[in-house]
Amino acid sequence: MKELLKDVMEFLKSKGASYADARFEEHQEEKIEVESTKLKKYSYDSNRGVGIRVLKGSGWGFAATDVLTKDGVFKAAELALKIAEESAKRAEKLELAEEPAHVDKFESPVQKDPFEISKAEKIELLREATAKMLKVEGIKRARAVMDFRKIRKVFVSTDGSDIEQLITISGAGIEAFAVSESDFQRRSYPSSFGGDYATRGWEFVQEMNLVGNAEKVAKEAADLLKAPEIEPGSYDIIIDGQQMALQVHESCGHPTELDRVFGSEISYAGGSFLQPEKLNKLKYGSDIVNITADATIPGGLGSFGYDDEGVKAQKSYLVKEGLFVGYLMDRQTAARLGLRSNGAARAQSWRHIPIIRMTNINLLPGNKTLDELISEIDYGFLLATNKSWSIDDMRVNFQFATEIAYEIKAGKLTGRIFKNPVYYGRTTEFWNSCDGIANEDHWHVWGVPNCGKGQPGQIMYVGHGTSPARFRNVKVGVAK
């Protein structure tokens, strides 16, 4: 296949393409779902195809096909060329940031290939976890899921790049639902909406200890049915690492995507308040807030060797000591700022063009323990595990709900819990109210496997390294 793709590159060059690349991708995915000790679904998906991107003049064209014969691939190349020629009539001149040709291979760091683990072992682990949850009084429904993916990519470009990558992804999680006549409540572990993910192997799932955490999760769900809601008001809060991942994702990751800044997503996901005139000037957060984009973290869900236009994985700062200092960029948008790409062009599959996506967007750890963060709160809450999220189209006004809030009084957790907690604010006000971040002992790279963007829509798997962080005087609860 690689030789065929190289022939296509030569063909496109001969037809006047100023740049072209081609990706062959082969995806395998295994999903397992157990509902209340019964296997509900064991599914396996495999697909493969080629996506070809052509720049001719100022116009981009892209065509993808699953017909992998020489004829089928060349037809896709010709279509991409035809589309590029049509686009060029209605687009202004564009440049791509410099990038050396890379000839390399990359593989995710996997100790135990999840596809080599027996299916029966996976099912049994999930059944055991749900059985533990169901033993808790009040639990009517217990779910447990696993998801494994293997993505093989071959990338060639007219610049001479020749890159092979094998990305392996493992994810799992459990949920307990407590139901009464007038309410139902859910608790999830280690993360909501499908659990936690990483570019690692079966060892990642084993480390979660799903079975060992099942009873605690279920008890909390049952207790939430009897819990009160927080009286709306302003409180000092600590946000746990999992919810911080969503907070970073929505209020820092997305607004630093440079294609959004330039308007390419206005018709769907929206724009960004982080316009170029704010770069290196805006006090995004307090001095202790440092946020990086880092695709080199071993095992992070947003880690890889090269992005989908052949740029090597990198680490760069988006926010440094509270100052907004950088964007997520691809080669086209970076060139507009006179910069090099920091390797954020990613495509969901061979069917999709690369667009700017998050890699691992991380709030760097601070210097306090979680106990120290709690000890400096007179009255407030520790909010844990995302339940819902919403943020405006410029990424300013946000509102999150979490599954549970733990009360803090006089510097200690009281053991009292609250249901349906909601907090909201405005991005820069919120991040400037951050006065404590837990240290690296509490830091974990959370995997978010379902980030949506683009037209046609694309789903991307991204990571967020976070630890619990404290924010002062945050609005909690909404008048309904």
């Binding site: 495999s46 007038s182 819902s388």
Partner: protein, 446 residues
């Protein structure tokens, strides 16, 4: 697009490759072309084609679900290895799974000749039209225009074989004025002509010019008129969060408290209607259940939840024709959603508002409290002040938090006029709606 004969051949090949198995297959071929523009320039132009299938295999009361885009004999043999392994490793199902019964219909040939092989210049011409309208009013254009041609077959070892071919066109557009605010429109239809794109883009342009946010409003409760885009979003979240029969049976849906009850005025009606000519008809679902007009809210009463094939088997119900993913047999969704028209004109609906707001559409909605279906989200692309029935100025966007059922109680009117707006599956048909008591809870900067 393949043909019904292609899928019949695939069915034979699968029968030969998977002896001893019962199976149900949903196979489809799609070619989709999409041109995207921003800042009044084309910046993305893509085409993708694929034939893929998802299949449920059953043996000894055990199930395996597999999907692939490799229909070669070698590809099917590789897939069989996975199926064998899954079946061998799986416990028996906790309920009796039956393959859908034998059902045959004449093929549904619904494609339009003009949409089968669309040259990229056609979409570029439509972009030119949008740009021209935007330029007339000093606006910048953002959006996409797309065309799709495809076909779908559902077949099984029980003799079920159904086939449909289709084409469609869809678009959305945002026009922004020099303040960075603007308006939005979308649509979906069987072909570019029925998309009625130029009329919609002109209406978007008229509203975009008016969206200069001068007024700052405070959080609180307001009388509002929602445009069709906003109404469709509201009911899509209701559909997503409250009408799945599987969740209803498990008690993890707000429908437990509200099904069978009157939740709104007599004129409130919401249905899944494959017979509505304005939408791209989906005549059968992916397990082959015939789709018919299905009331969800009727005369203000929350009348029915939807039962997917899996949920129906588990809970002894009849499947309602809303299973669209064999990997999610317990999930049900209305593919042709219609919020019924009211009896007053749009103008008369506005005339009822002495002082209130017009919300053109919502952004990033989500379910805050699923037990009570409390929804949050932002207004986007137009929050206008109405005085004495007329739009007089615009405000910055606001965040809302509204319990869906309480909001329905405050519904005061629906317009006769409906629009077909883009969205999940085939789009949705929705009117303008007048509510009293719509709660905004916080502000933003734009």
């Amino acid at each position: 697009m393949r043909s019904d004969q292609f899928y019949r051949n695939l069915m034979r090949l699968m029968s030969d490759t998977f002896p001893g198995y019962e199976f149900l297959v949903n196979a489809q071929s799609t070619k989709r072309d999409l041109t995207r523009f921003a800042n009044s320039e084309i910046h993305q132009n893509v085409s993708s084609q694929e034939m893929s299938f998802t299949a449920i295999f059953m043996k000894n009361k055990k199930l395996a679900v597999v999907s692939s885009n490799d229909d070669s004999l070698e590809g099917l043999k590789r897939l069989k290895e996975q199926v064998d392994e899954i079946i061998e490793s799986s416990p028996e199902l906790p309920y009796e799974f039956k393959m859908p019964p034998l059902r045959m219909e004449y093929p549904h040939y619904m494609e339009e000749e003009s949409m089968k092989d669309v040259h990229p210049s056609k979409r570029a011409e439509l972009f030119d039209m949008v740009k021209s309208i935007a330029d007339e009013k000093n606006l910048k254009a953002f959006g996409y225009v797309a065309n799709t041609a495809g076909d779908v077959a559902v077949f099984s070892t029980t003799g079920l074989f159904l086939y449909m071919s289709y084409t469609n066109a869809d678009f959305n557009v945002v026009l922004l004025n020099e303040t960075g605010s603007g308006s939005y429109g979308s649509g979906v239809a069987k072909n570019f002509e029925e998309l009625d794109m130029e009329r919609k883009v002109r209406e978007v342009a008229d509203l975009a010019v008016k969206n200069v946010p001068k007024v700052e409003i405070e959080p609180g409760s307001y009388t509002v008129i929602l445009g069709p885009e906003a109404v469709a979003s509201l009911f899509m979240y209701f559909a997503f969060g409250a009408i799945n029969g599987f969740w209803h049976e498990l008690g993890t849906s707000s429908s437990v408290k509200y099904l069978g009850k009157k939740i709104g005025p007599d004129f409130l009606c919401f249905k899944d209607d494959p017979e509505d000519e304005r939408l791209v008809k989906v005549p059968f679902d992916m397990v082959g259940t015939k789709r018919e007009t299905f009331p969800i809210i009727e005369n203000g009463v929350f009348k029915n939840v939807l039962y997917s094939y899996g949920a129906a088997l588990m809970f002894g119900k009849e499947p309602t024709g809303h299973t669209f993913n064999l990997e999610q047999l317990d999930f049900a969704f209305p593919a042709n959603p219609v919020i019924c028209a009211g009896e007053v004109s749009k103008e008369d609906l506005f005339a009822k508002v002495d002082k209130g707001l017009y919300i053109h559409r919502f952004h990033y909605m989500n379910i805050v409290d699923p037990s009570n279906l409390v929804l949050t989200g932002m207004t986007r692309d137009g929050l206008y002040l109405i005085e004495k029935g007329e739009i007089v100025s615009a405000s910055k966007n606001m965040r809302f938090n509204v319990p869906f059922y309480e909001l329905m109680e405050s519904l005061k009117g629906l317009s006769k006029e409906q629009e077909t707006v883009g969205g999940a599956f085939s789009g949705a048909v929705a009117p303008y709606a007048l509510f009293e008591g719509f709660t905004f809870t916080s502000k933003t900067d734009h």
